[in-house]
């Protein structure tokens, strides 16, 4: 496993910690636009963060010459 792959795994662990989110377990407010409670916008932002992490993965970690097969 390369160094960048190890960093990728560490980022995944960080997302798991953020996903556990014990500090916001009973939280509802702020309610965005009157219908998006804390849990949805927080985990929605985390989902976007995961998508950005995957972009970093394919640009910086994924082997470049992998289309040779």
């Amino acid at each position: 496993m390369s160094l960048r792959e190890r960093i990728f795994v560490l980022i995944l662990v960080l997302f798991v910690v953020l996903h556990l989110d014990l500090w916001g377990w009973g939280r509802i407010e702020p309610m965005l636009f009157g219908w998006i409670p804390y849990h949805i916008w927080y985990h929605g932002l985390l989902t976007l963060g995961v998508a950005l992490c995957m972009i970093w993965l394919i640009v910086r970690v994924w082997p470049r010459d992998s289309s040779q097969f």
Binding site: M1, F8, L12, F15, V16, H19, L20, D21, L22, W25, G26, R27, I28, M31, F33, G34, W35, P37, Y38, H39, I40, H43, G44, L46, T47, L48, V50, A51, M54, I55, L57, I58, V61, W62, P63, S66, S67, F69
Partner: protein, 489 residues
């Protein structure tokens, strides 16, 4: 016949007809070779692969179980299932899927038993993996067929068996004729159907209830506990769940096989980036519909609340939406069912008959013929299961996800740890899977969970056994290891 029954039947007929047309078109395009029938020539581009994998991953649970869960446990359903999946599944596409795709492309492997058996030069690894995957997949197929029958019964008031049999027949036809190409292209259509209908139902139901803010504020006033997680979810359960549904997906043979059909690494890269965004687009709508249902149709028990989505459609939308609702539920079910039937037939053809009667299978193009016959046989078994509806099928399906997840440590070791051995893999697969029913059906081992779900101690056991037994047994030959690792390095 009521207006709603006519509407449901009309949409169902059109929907099933489109699937048959796609199946026929795929049949015309498919060559009678194993590589083309089972793997569509490994030539899928990003759009087809994204839909093929995502639609395969979405089952009846997405359309029925998820809104039902939101009805009972609230908004936390998003993080519990959707975010956990959006995080773990794409990561596994890279960590396991990409390397499997590389060796699959190089050596022509199609199924997990074939690939991992070759990695360790061990027929035992291949056979054990085959047995486990078949054991967990057959009940999953039967429950899908039962779900299809129940959906037609609840939405169109049409007998259960008609729905189960018609879904099974159409799925069998386009899978028999179209092979992998047929199942993947129908997944594109089915994925579009359930995504568009889900979004349409979301916006239309919100409008019918006075707007997004008005109905959500009503939930806030009447059931505020559903807008947060305290009391609805246990943190240890929340953590454990990461190892069940999300981690199991890469071990689903029907998902694993589809990953091998990508044309290039770019295809897999696109899938990896788009996957989390698809969860963000498609899960909040069905979760909100279930949440709103808790105040507009209150008091449903656990079983009835799984039908909250069709109930909300029936209560607040025009009757034509009932038909579209059924099409969406069927789309989610059939896109998984076809993939499982094809995968099972591939494994039965290649990993069972191909292993014990290789000459017979490979002569005169019999492999494709046998694959098609197995699909018909699997459909008959599924129909029998749907007729009998035995309780044990549900019980097995219930712990199947944990069973699938338990093969992930072995898969990771195969691609990242040269020193791992066939004995280590066998120990990590066999012992935890033998203990699994004791966790689910007896109280004897509950002490060892420490409040987590059984998957956590079993995953630890699987990993420890893998490492210890591998270190105690003779390392695999350098030639066997290099055959795989030379491609990765």
């Amino acid at each position: 016949m009521t207006e709603s029954t006519v509407s449901v039947l009309a949409v169902a007929v059109i929907y099933l007809f489109v699937l048959l047309v796609i199946g026929w078109w795929s049949y015309r395009k498919t060559l009678p070779t194993p590589e083309d029938f089972f793997m569509a020539g490994r030539a899928f581009g990003p759009i087809v692969l994204i839909f093929a994998v995502y639609a395969t991953n979405m089952t009846a649970f997405y359309m029925l179980g998820t809104p039902g869960n939101a009805y009972r446990q609230g908004i936390g359903t998003y993080g519990y299932i959707a975010f956990a999946s959006a995080l773990v599944i794409p990561a596994m596409f890279y960590l396991i899927g990409y390397r499997a795709w590389l060796v699959g492309k190089r050596y022509g492997y199609m199924t997990p038993p074939e690939l991992f058996g070759a990695r360790y030069e061990s027929p035992a690894v291949a056979v054990v993996l085959f047995v486990l995957l078949v054991f967990y997949t057959v009940p999953y197929i039967v429950t899908s067929v039962i779900g299809a029958g129940l959906a037609l019964e609840s939405l169109g008031k049409i007998p259960y068996l008609w729905g189960a049999a018609s879904v099974l027949l159409i799925t069998m036809l386009y899978t028999v004729f179209g092979g992998m190409r047929g199942t993947a292209w129908t997944s594109v259509f089915q994925g579009l159907v359930f995504i568009i209908v889900g979004l349409l139902a979301f916006v239309s139901i919100a409008n019918a209830l006075g707007g997004f803010a008005a109905i959500t504020q009503r939930v806030y006033a009447e059931r505020p506990e559903l807008l947060q997680r305290a009391g609805n979810f246990d943190p240890k359960d929340w953590f454990s769940f990461l190892f069940i549904a999300p981690l199991a997906v890469i071990a689903f043979p029907h998902v694993f096989m589809r990953l091998l059909t990508g044309k290039s690494a770019r295809t897999l890269k696109a899938l990896t980036v788009v996957y989390p965004l698809l969860f963000l687009l498609t899960w909040p709508p069905v979760i909100y519909i279930g949440l709103w249902g808790s105040v507009v149709i209150p008091g449903l028990d656990a079983r009835s609340s799984d039908a909250i989505l069709p109930m909300m459609i029936a209560r607040f939308l025009p009757t034509v939406m009932l038909g579209l609702g059924l099409a969406a539920i069927w789309a989610a079910i059939m896109s998984t069912l076809d993939a499982m039937m094809l995968t099972l037939s591939t494994m039965l053809t290649r990993d069972l008959l191909g292993r014990f009667f290789p000459h017979f299978v490979r002569e005169k193009g019999r492999e494709v013929v046998l694959g098609r016959l197995f699909i018909i046989l699997i459909a008959l078994v599924a129909l029998l299961g749907a007729l009998l509806r035995p309780g044990t099928i549900y019980d097995i399906a219930k712990f199947a996800f944990t069973g699938y997840s338990l093969s992930v440590p072995a898969m990771l070791a195969s691609f990242y740890w040269r020193r791992s051995t066939a004995w280590g893999v066998l120990a990590s697969l066999v012992i935890p899977n033998l203990l699994l029913p004791f966790y689910y059906f007896t109280p004897y081992l509950s002490w060892s969970t420490f409040g987590f779900l059984p998957v956590v101690p079993l995953m630890v056991l699987s990993s420890v056994l893998l490492v210890l037994v591998s270190l105690w047994t003779r390392p695999p030959s350098e030639q066997a290891v290099s055959r795989f690792f030379a491609i990765f390095d």
